[in-house]
């Protein structure tokens, strides 16, 4: 049971990058445990995904053909079958929206401990996971009792596996139980008159703006700079700006020349959507805000003091 099973992730015909990162994390675990690394490819174009995920360090690939897209019922049944049929006793799953739709059920069904959203792992007679708490303000190390577990890993924390592997690819037939949850379709949301991904300069506003009526201030700044207005999630959740203005994991990924974050703390989901910007400017009252970790220029100060002065500079 020292083998490790990594579950790859794909959506709408594309293998997602986190699959390759999970292979790297899984390989490290398998090495520490003295076991093999198995990769599961479930649903969709399994042959093409299997070829893509067949990178250095993978020992075996198991494909399960069933439907085109993610269905937690299929994933849960496939993983149960693979844990039964192989020597894998431990599972590594991407900490994505879909990962969180089945990983907890897999852990529960197998009676295994679950640790989610890992940003680091060490294995020495047992697993120690590094993960964040209190909204990324602290990191913790968590020891896991027992030698088998289900782990979900945060995207972007491990280097993607590279090279060409020569793992055998085996198709696995499984019985999928009846499910009372059925996917009926997909919809692209957040498109509209403005595409923030096209903008060269973005003024992006976050929770620090406080009240809806204060948005005028950042709109004025965007006008003065000839920039486009975007935002972090809470502004859209509050209905203050439409969904097409949202930067982040569930919104748009943007890579402007200049990104000015105003009152944005820099939660990991937001950073995932803007870290590729050429120049990042952050204005925030909290000197410990994670946005400063990725900023090129920072002003630790009150946006209500700084932004009016900045508007004056460009008036």
């Amino acid at each position: 049971m020292d083998d490790v099973l990594v579950v790859s992730e794909h959506r709408r015909g594309e293998l997602r990058d986190v699959s390759h990162e999970a292979v790297t994390a899984g390989r490290a675990l398998a090495d520490a445990r003295g076991g093999d690394l198995h990769v599961a490819v479930i649903a969709g174009n399994v042959e093409r995904f299997a070829e893509d995920v067949n990178r250095a360090g993978v020992d075996a690939i198991h494909t399960v053909e069933h439907g085109e897209e993610f269905d937690h019922n299929v994933y849960q049944a496939a993983i149960a079958a693979l844990l039964d049929q192989t020597d894998a006793g431990t599972v590594v799953i991407p900490n994505s929206v879909n990962g969180l739709d089945y990983a907890p059920a897999v852990a529960e069904a197998q009676g295994l401990p679950l640790v989610t959203d890992a940003i680091g792992i060490e294995y020495d007679d047992g697993l120690t996971v590094t993960r964040e708490m209190y909204g990324s303000k602290v990191e913790t190390t968590v020891d896991v009792t027992g030698d088998r577990f289900v782990l979900t890993i945060r995207g972007g924390e491990w280097a993607p596996a590279e090279g060409v592997g020569d793992a055998p690819v085996e198709s696995v037939g499984i019985d999928i139980p009846e499910s009372g949850a059925r996917v009926t379709g997909f919809e692209e949301v957040g498109n509209g008159d403005v595409d923030i991904a096209d903008a060269d300069v973005l003024v992006s506003v976050g929770r620090g703006i406080g009240e809806e009526e204060n948005l005028e201030l950042v709109e004025e700044l965007a006008d003065a700079l000839g920039a486009t207005l975007s935002s972090s999630r809470p502004i859209v959740d509050n209905g203050w700006l439409p969904k097409n203005r949202q930067v982040g994991q569930s919104g748009k990924v943007v890579t402007p020349d200049v990104y000015i974050a105003v009152g944005i703390s820099g939660a990991v989901q937001h950073v995932a959507g803007m870290k590729g910007s050429d120049t990042i400017v952050a204005i925030n009252t909290d000197p410990n805000a994670p946005i400063f970790d990725i900023a090129d220029y920072g002003i630790v100060g009150d946006l209500f003091d700084v932004v009016p002065e900045l508007i004056d500079q460009f008036a």
Partner: protein, 262 residues
Amino acid sequence: MKVLVTVKEVAEANDDFAIEGTDIAASDLEYDLNEWDDYAIEAAVQLAEAGIADEVVTVTIGPERTEETIRMALAKGADRAVRVWDEAFEAGFADVAAKVSTFEAVVEDEDPDLILGGVQAADTGFGATGVALAERIGFEHAAVVNALDVDADAGVAHVRRELEGGVEELTDVELPAVLTVQTGLNEPRYASLRGIRQAQRKEIAATDLSDLGLSADDVESALTITSMYEPESESDAELIEGDAGEAAGRLAEVLREKGVDA
């Protein structure tokens, strides 16, 4: 139908805080209703107002202190609350399975048709309890739901799951089900004065493990937090000093160098 809402009181660290042992010093923490759960409460109360839900019950694992937060949920329209606490929970960090065992026992007592909870707790951020609970009790589930339309006659919840990158998955989930709720699902209300007054008379049933037919062994955690520390800043940002006017002046120079307003 009956809706059960899992509600957590979460701790938020002040901007300046100290770490004592493996947690943030209690004096540097402030407690509040978990933001995601606020949306779950609102969804449940809206189902009641639409005549779909007959009763909305909240369940919380937490010490007596959490009753203030629970009252907030009651003031927003939940009918009554169950609060589970036991000295077994004071021993350390409760893992997902420990919480699931507790909720499972409450579900046996309450027999809900629909269970709503937040996608994750703001403090611990596991994002797992709802889906694990569904597996344990044999309910259907959907995680990260940002639109919800319950057809009680058909026994189906039509939901949207918010995937990454601006894509939503449309899914039909048969009841009984557990749904984990994403922020933005609705507009959580503020408690009205009338609601706050009424909440004072609503029941919060304080329950311990033995009341639920459980023992400390049932909530033994497989996880132990062994250290907590502030991550080293990876920042190589040029911090612009000075008062607001000076800082804005310097930033304007930088922005013009980068071609802004060129």
